[in-house]
């Protein structure tokens, strides 16, 4: 098992594509997205609008090496600043297969 950083991001479903692009630009190997999650934060409740299909969040899980982390965070921060959302970083071990 290799020690890595585990990153979770929740933001507007529309912006999650931009987040994924940023990840790829930083050479992150992969990610997993839960396309539609309900959320509450500073901008109130976001449960996805039934009619226009907007105002919903997505959840993204990815991993990176400790060395990649600072650059990645700097790249993601402005997106969250503009659209809201959270980014959590924690420690984990990657099980190699």
């Amino acid at each position: 098992m290799r020690a890595i950083k585990r990153i979770e991001i929740v933001t507007d479903a529309l912006e999650i594509e931009r987040v994924a692009q940023v990840l790829e630009q930083h050479g992150v190997s992969g990610y997993t997205i839960v396309p539609h999650v309900v959320g509450k934060g500073e901008r109130g409740i976001r449960r996805g609008d039934e009619l226009s299909g907007v105002f919903k969040n997505s959840y993204l899980l990815t991993t990176c090496d400790e060395s990649q982390l600072p650059a990645l965070i700097e790249a993601i921060r402005p997106i969250l600043g503009q659209r809201g959302g959270i980014c959590l970083v924690s420690d984990a071990w990657w099980v190699q297969h």
């Binding site: 507007d12 529309l14 109130g44 609008d49 039934e50 009619l51 226009s52 299909g53 907007v54 105002f55 503009q82 659209r83």
Partner: protein
């Protein structure tokens, strides 16, 4: 005004299902249409509406199409222009711009309900009114966002967003489906569209009822948001449709639209958007508060038009025509 028309409208199954939806929320029932069904129903309504409109557009052209479409475009552009300064007195810049766009744009479901009402009454209607509906969806969005841009510092950022917005407003899925179906209906014509009739016509009142049941649920859930809203937005949400309806009636009379088309035109002027506008504003004016502009259009203007407005407008039209 004519109480019979109000009652005729209230005995219209789609309106009754709308009220049932509202009631379900009121008594805290867990009735709900599961997630993509309402979306699918709204796509169906747009497809059927466009297709029928296209066929009608081809078959019956009485020379009124062009003036009607010009009037529609005019109203869509003018509404945000006179609404914005009023709104700006009591709202933030982005909110005022978003509400102005909301009332300049239109509600396809209100239109469709008026259509079904006319059909029950046996009143004829023209295909170009569907084209007017399509035409009125987007321009007000552009005007609203333009106002927001003019009032804001960071013009650069706004400029890039403006392109995105125009794209979003014109090529929004709902608008495209409506326009596309209209074109297809026009191209295939009456004989070519015969095979789709059971789908686009026979099912229409039933699926509209189901959709309005869901609209009732959605509106009911939004009613709670009204408490947090001041008196001004509430007054605006009833006053604007009435003003626009009066203006629309005058224009319809001038052009010489027949009764059915006049009602549809008035309904377009009086209705407010809660689908195309939020979809565009999310991109173009993320600072605007959807709990304000969506709730005004959806929880106040929409039920007012569907339950009272449509027969009210028709009874006035009937008196003056």
């Amino acid at each position: 005004m004519n109480a019979d028309l109000i009652i005729a409208n209230l005995l219209n199954p789609p309106v009754l299902f709308f009220l049932l939806g509202g009631l379900a929320v009121l008594v805290k029932s867990d009735l709900e249409l599961p997630a993509p069904i309402p979306k699918a129903l709204s796509l169906y309504l747009l497809l059927a509406l466009g297709f029928k409109g296209g066929i009608a557009l081809r078959e019956n052209n009485d020379g009124l199409a062009l003036p009607a479409l010009c009037a529609a475009l005019l109203m869509a552009l003018a509404t945000p222009i006179y609404a914005f300064p009023i709104l700006r007195r009591r709202m933030t810049l982005p909110d005022a711009a978003a509400v102005a766009a909301t009332y300049g744009s239109v509600s396809a479901v209100t239109f469709v309900t008026a259509t079904a009402f006319l059909q029950r009454l046996g009143e004829p209607q023209s295909g170009y009114m569907t084209a007017a509906l399509a035409l009125m969806e987007s321009p007000a969005i552009a005007v609203g966002v333009l106002f927001a841009r003019l009032g804001q510092r960071n013009g650069d950022d706004m400029r890039s967003r403006f392109a995105v917005l125009l794209h979003e407003a014109m090529l929004n899925g709902s608008v495209l489906l409506l326009v596309g179906s209209l074109a297809i209906g026009y191209v295939v014509g009456g004989a070519g569209g015969e095979s789709l009739k059971p789908f686009t016509e026979a099912l229409f009142p039933g699926l509209l009822s189901l959709f309005l049941l869901d609209m009732g649920l959605v509106v009911g859930r939004r009613l709670g948001d009204l408490r947090r809203m001041g008196a001004f937005p509430i007054a605006f949400a009833f006053g604007m449709p009435l003003f626009n309806a009066a203006l629309g009636m005058g224009i319809a009379r001038l052009i010489g639209l027949p009764v059915g088309d006049a009602l549809l035109f008035v309904v377009l002027c009086a209705s407010a958007s809660y689908i195309a506008v939020p979809a565009a504003m999310r991109q173009a004016l993320p600072q605007a508060n959807p709990a304000l502009y969506v709730t005004m259009a959806l929880a106040l203007t929409f039920p007012f038009n569907v339950v009272i407005g449509i027969p009210l407008y028709l009874s006035v039209i009937a008196a003056f025509w």
